[in-house]
Amino acid sequence: MGARRWTARARGFRAAAAAVAALGLLATGCGGGSGSGDGKVTIRYSWWGAKDRAELIQKTVELFEKEHPNITVKTDFSEYTDFWSKFNTQAAGGNAPDVFQNSYAFLRKYGDKNLLLDLNGQAKAGNLSLKGFRDGLEKAGDIDGKLLGVPVGANTFALFYNPDAFKKAGVTVEDGWTWDDFFAAAKKVRKSDGTLYGASDNANVMYLYDLYMRQNGKAFFTKDDKLGFTKDDLTRWWSLWRQHAKADELVPGKKSEQAKPKASISADLSAAEFTWDNFLVRFAAETKTTLDLGPIPTTDGKRTGQYLSSLMLSGSARTQHPKEVAQFIDFMTHDPEVGKIMGYNRGIPATTAQYDAYKPQGVDAKIAAYEKSVSAELEPITPHPAGADVAEAAFLRIYTQVALGQTSMDKAVDQFFDEAESALGS
């Protein structure tokens, strides 16, 4: 009898022990398993974008795996801001993806925190070629002598406009036109077309204001990580747009908020909008209206202040497989087949090999023609300090509140300076 009791206890014991053991197994099952002994290497590649890009990227990854049978690439994607919050969480846990999509605006932010792999060493070791990049783009990811990213595509700012509406209003878009010309055109379009506003209210777009500042010999950020303009400058810029918005020539703040996630121009609210030229691909999918690309208005009739910005691939400083990461980046930037597959999805390909391999058609041809037309005007890019992304978000939000009538101009300008300065200071 005692023995039976004992076995019952023992069984309970064993069950408990098994439960604990199972828990332990579970833990190791989650943690380990990435590196294996047979020379096969797995790298994680994450990027931001949507479904259309996902399909293209999957094709390029398959191509890479075929050429490098010892490397497996696990991909992972999310939308733009979700991407960064996920990335921050993973990176803080020491678990950043081995290789990931990056852009110029984030190089310093993460470079300063030693999260990005310096690819110079890999380039020297011959795992990554820095030859054949267009327009000096191989230097785009160079921050203080470290190569923190390699561009896969480049794009520049553009005016998007509805050619039919402009024609009807009798205005022509021409090189070297001024801001006055632009607002006059918007006014005419608004008068001739009962439904369309002349332009979207883009006073909240940091990159456009940057161009305007560059035309005036300044820039959004200075080289020593500060704001490159005064409160008066910003008040003048925002007031200029407010004045035309109040004259009912620009899309009202509420309407453009309601149209989201569409842009005002692709929601057929306005006849003109400023953004990156590769957005033409997206807008073409969102609206039936034909859109053309035109030159950025100028202050002096000459200088647009434009530059090439680029989407890049960066490696994690903590990756276990820097060589494979470099090989992957090399393949993604140079392989002509990849160029054919990706097209202008991430901007115009950064290397001549990929640029020549892809023959643009449809909207892509328009983007190519536009970039060709502005290539002579391109200047070096404005530096982006750590905190630039926070400043950009504040710029966007605070002017939107002005446009919604929630705050006064003076208060808004003060608030922007407060938020931006504290973001840049930290």
């Binding site: 005692g2 022990a17 828990l23 509420k254 149209a259 608030q415």
Partner: protein, 333 residues
């Protein structure tokens, strides 16, 4: 998890040796053997408890302590935290957006919670009496709160209240032209509140259980005395279910203060603002934005503790006031 812990809790009791006898009532067991067996049971009990203990230490207590520490530091997720004392809390009080988030959340809680409870109680009253299709209706009304926290519902809500979508279009038919509700600073929050009110299923089920407990004799007696429907509801139903009402109120308030998913999804992933003119900047979201977008984790931790203080305060006040309006059967002396 639950079955393990309950069994473990049974096993953990024996230190006194009493329930050891209950588990194995062997008449011939010597006292010494019993003690040894008791110890073994204790050990087994603790073993069974381990997963739960590890869970609470690693996943609840640990993070809470770390977060408390971080609240007094400047921490950007990557460099090691710098102790800055009360600076974060001081900054909070001077942060306009923090105050905006407090306001938005208070509006959401103070308008949303009573409406939600009223809806839950009203539907529970309708569904408490046996009628045809009762089961169907109960599950139909409960379903939204089952899927409520999910992202998909947020997406559906966004699609319904978007510009040119079904709500906008059908309201326009009646001459009420708002445009996209979620893009309108005046209508975005009401849209979010509608979503929470619509998810009244969980409190409804609890109300149903409470309503069933009200003895029918009371109603019969009241009816004999000539009390009308409203009078019966006010004088019998409400006091009788007041403990349930209290429970629901507490739960929903705490829950509402932590609103996050629905707000984020409705405004749209891929935007970095709190909705049109920050009109949907709920507390949880601002906390998340500061922590994970702006890399101010210390600041976010300070926000979390302020929220905890706020919820604690509200709960304490509720407990204080419950003497006035919550009636427990045992109290009736």
């Amino acid at each position: 998890m639950t079955p393990t812990t309950t069994r473990a809790a049974d096993g953990a009791r024996p230190p006194t040796g009493t329930s050891g006898a209950k588990a194995a009532p062997g008449p011939g067991a010597a006292p010494a053997a019993g003690r040894r067996q008791g110890r073994r049971e204790t050990l087994a009990g603790y073993l069974f408890l381990t997963p739960w203990c590890i869970g609470i230490l690693l996943l609840t207590l640990g993070p809470m302590l770390v977060s408390l520490y971080l609240a007094f530091t400047d921490y950007n997720l990557f460099d090691s935290p710098q102790w800055i004392g009360l600076q974060n809390f001081q900054d909070l009080l001077e942060d306009d957006r923090w105050w905006t988030s407090v306001q938005v959340t208070l509006k959401y809680v103070l308008i949303g919670t009573p409406l939600k409870l009223a809806a839950a109680l009203a539907v529970a009253l309708l569904l408490v009496k046996p009628r045809k299709g009762q089961g169907f209706y109960r599950s139909a009304f409960y379903a939204p709160s089952l899927i409520g926290a999910s992202v998909s519902i947020g997406i559906v809500w966004r699609a319904i209240f978007n510009d040119d979508a079904i709500v906008d279009k059908s309201m326009s038919l009646f001459g009420w032209d708002v445009g996209g509700w979620i893009g309108d600073p005046d209508w975005a929050l009401p849209t979010l509140i509608t979503l929470t009110v619509w998810q009244f299923g969980a409190p409804m089920v609890i109300f149903l259980a409470g309503l069933k407990q009200v003895p029918n004799e009371l109603y019969e007696a009241a009816a004999m005395d000539g009390a009308g429907r409203w009078r019966r509801f006010r004088s019998i139903t409400l006091p009788m279910i007041s403990p349930v009402l209290f429970f629901n109120l507490l739960l929903e308030l705490i829950h509402s203060f932590q609103v996050f998913t629905s707000a984020v999804v409705i405004v749209g992933a891929g935007t970095n603002t709190g909705g049109p003119g920050d009109s949907l900047l709920v507390y949880g979201w601002y906390l998340y934005e500061q922590g994970f977008h702006n890399l101010r984790m210390g600041y976010a931790a300070a926000m979390a503790w302020m929220l905890m203080l706020g919820i604690g305060l509200v709960t304490a006040v509720l407990f204080k006031t419950q003497r006035g309006w919550v009636h427990y059967e045992e109290d009736a002396r």
